[in-house]
């Protein structure tokens, strides 16, 4: 064997040995990683974290439903207060079993939803003043959490004011009719009379209830009749004088509203949560599914 061949052999042999050693190190490392993530303790920790988060998110939804109730005003403050009391009691209870420190605060900027309202009697027109033939309250709407209308007067001549809810394939209508004009009213849903009488009409479009001068009626609601998202339109709004409140997640057209006509409202509240456990500490921002159950 000549010297050059021996040198070449030694070089290639060294490289082969290096490949084997390097590969072994790689495999050993992957083995360590695999062992780490398949350890029973690690799997349990991950599973318990998921269970804990699901449990806390359920509780946040229950609290949101209980604090919201039928009262739109001050929901954020009530929910913040409920979150403080909930986390305090939660931490006291689970701390005794070596559990988790939890902190939860409402994140208003990450919450979804807007509210618009007309608190004093006026024509059922765009807040900016237009929309005599028709105007969109909101489009691509889901979910709706508040939709109340108080009808003080209807014109009774020409086309009556009609609220049209569409989902692209079907529609649902509510007509605010009245003959003779003035306080005499008749509320029709999909063409069927549901409430009539003389006086102020109070309608809750989500509960499916209407009441005129102590006489009440019920009607099928659009959320049961149609699948969302919805486009909600008011036709011939100049024919009636109303007050209303509407809160939902959706698009509120800029052309219909001035800067102060709509405001943020946590229809889908976002909550910043902090979990501090013996094995992990982390933050999450969750959108809360409001649970009325």
């Amino acid at each position: 064997m000549v010297a050059s061949e021996r040198g070449q052999l030694l070089l290639i042999g060294g490289i082969a040995v290096a490949i084997v050693v390097f590969s072994t190190i790689l495999f050993a490392h992957s083995l360590a990683v695999t062992d780490g993530i398949t350890t029973t303790g690690s799997a349990d920790t991950i599973e318990r974290s998921a269970d804990r988060e699901a449990s806390v998110e359920r509780d946040l939804g229950v609290l949101a439903a209980r604090t919201r109730g039928d009262d739109l005003d001050g929901f954020e403050e009530r929910y913040e207060n409920a979150l403080r009391n909930y986390t305090r009691t939660h931490n006291r209870v689970v701390a005794s079993s070596g559990g988790t420190y939890l902190n939860a605060t409402l994140n208003e900027s990450a919450s979804l939803g807007n509210v618009t309202k007309q608190p004093s009697t006026d024509k059922f027109l765009e807040p900016s003043g237009g929309g005599g033939a028709s105007w969109d309250i909101a489009t691509d709407v889901a979910p709706v959490v508040i939709f109340n209308i108080t009808v003080d007067d209807v014109d009774g001549t020409g086309n009556p004011t009609t609220i049209v809810v569409e989902n692209g394939t079907d529609d649902w209508t509510m007509t605010l009719d009245g003959t003779p004009p003035g306080t005499q009213k008749e509320i029709l849903v999909n063409g069927v009379s549901r409430c009539s009488g003389s006086g102020t009409a109070r309608i809750n479009l989500l509960d499916g209830t209407c009441e005129i001068a102590g006489s009440s009626g019920t009607f099928p609601i659009f959320t049961d009749e149609l699948e969302g998202p919805y486009d909600i339109t008011v036709e011939h709004g100049a024919q009636s004088d109303v007050r209303y409140r509407f809160a939902a997640v959706g698009d509120f057209p800029d052309s219909n509203y001035g800067p102060t006509d709509i405001g943020p409202y946590p229809v889908v509240p976002a909550v910043d949560t902090t979990y501090d456990t013996p094995s992990a500490s982390y933050n999450r921002t969750v959108r809360v599914e409001v649970d009325d159950g």
Partner: protein, 190 residues
Amino acid sequence: MRGQAYTLEGVLAAIVVVTATVYGLSAVDTGPFQTGTQQRIAALETRASDTLSLAAETGALHNATACYSVGTPTLNGNQTGSSTEFEMMLNRTFDRQGNQYNLYLSYWNSDSSARQTALVSQETGENVADRPADAAVATETVTLTDDMPARIGDCSGTGPPLSAVDGYFAPDAEPDSVVYNVVEVRLVLW
């Protein structure tokens, strides 16, 4: 020529070693070793945790918590014949499989050191003391609010609000808030 043969032989040998390592690693269980007892506890923990999660998802756990100690309690640890949905789940999942369990309801009470009540699956008071040290444990929390109705009958009927029920096992931990109490349900299974 001979040098090339040696080189080729070395490379082939390296390939054989690496390939053998790959096959060897894929053929063996890389998880940690567990004894039979550890495997049994792990399986029990999974079943206990799944049962509680399922009961919480369906509302059965909430109903059972709001029902316990109200009127004539139907949630009572009986191994058979319970009409309570949550207890039927426990009966089917554990009692019929020969497992035993204790159920602990922990809550906050600022006026007393008694912050836990226990429910056992056997009709013996000693069962709480008898439970082995290697039992599996799973927990779930239930949040109660002031206006939530107590559950009556088979725990699906609604009664008066919890805050108006005399003798309910958990007091109002936050009187100035909508929050009534938080109950941690701990299932100890063996």
